[in-house]
């Protein structure tokens, strides 16, 4: 399980680094509202990843379910919040949510090509 915990830790760290960098860049290039929308999405993505991680840790421990509406519901709540709030934007929130995928890709590439 040490491999798994190391992978989780690396991905969390990568998400935080990418999100912080993107927040600053978006804040300067667009506006604070856009950057906050991105940050909200990134936070939601992190929470989503944590829920996925919990359910994967539960595999093989009795009757824990892998699926369920909670993770996808989290995304739906996040997007509806961004749409309805008026001050937040849809696209930055969605891209923020996708930060976790970017972190996974970065980690996979790092694993493939070794630490440089």
């Amino acid at each position: 399980m040490a491999d798994y915990h190391a992978l989780r830790r690396r991905i969390y760290l990568t998400v935080v680094v990418i999100a912080a960098f993107a927040f600053v860049v978006v804040g300067f290039a667009y506006s604070l509202n856009t950057a906050l929308s991105y940050l909200l999405g990134a936070g939601g993505g992190l929470l989503y990843f944590r829920m996925l991680d919990r359910s994967i840790q539960g595999i093989g421990e009795g009757n824990r379910r892998l699926g369920g509406p909670a993770r996808v519901g989290l995304f739906a709540v996040l997007m509806v919040m961004a749409i309805k709030s008026g001050s937040l934007e849809i696209l930055p929130t969605f891209f923020g949510f996708l930060t976790i995928k970017a972190a996974i890709l970065v980690d996979t590439l790092r694993t493939l090509f070794g630490d440089v």
């Binding site: 399980m1 798994y4 994967i56 996808v72 509806v80 749409i83």
Partner: protein
């Protein structure tokens, strides 16, 4: 938004999220069952198997999320609203 656009949007939203959930649902079920099987066969490789499952499930579920995004946009921020 006129009635036909509203009705078409609701049907399209339902189809988008419903159809987008079929493939990943089957894929996630297969992946999880094979991972549980692998962990039972080789408990010493548990960390690696769970790690691979985490990454593959994250990407599989993103397909459902794309469908959900389309349906949310159709329902709450419809670009075809008159």
């Amino acid at each position: 938004m006129n009635d036909i656009t509203a009705a078409a949007s609701v049907i399209a939203a339902a189809l988008a999220v419903g159809l987008a959930a079929i493939g990943p649902g089957i894929g996630q079920g297969n992946a999880a069952s094979k991972a549980a099987e692998g962990i039972a066969r080789q408990p010493e490789a548990e960390g690696k198997i769970r790690g691979t499952l985490l990454l593959s499930l994250a990407f599989m579920e993103s397909l459902t999320i794309y469908g959900l995004l389309v349906s949310i946009v159709l329902l709450f921020a419809n670009p075809f609203r008159g």
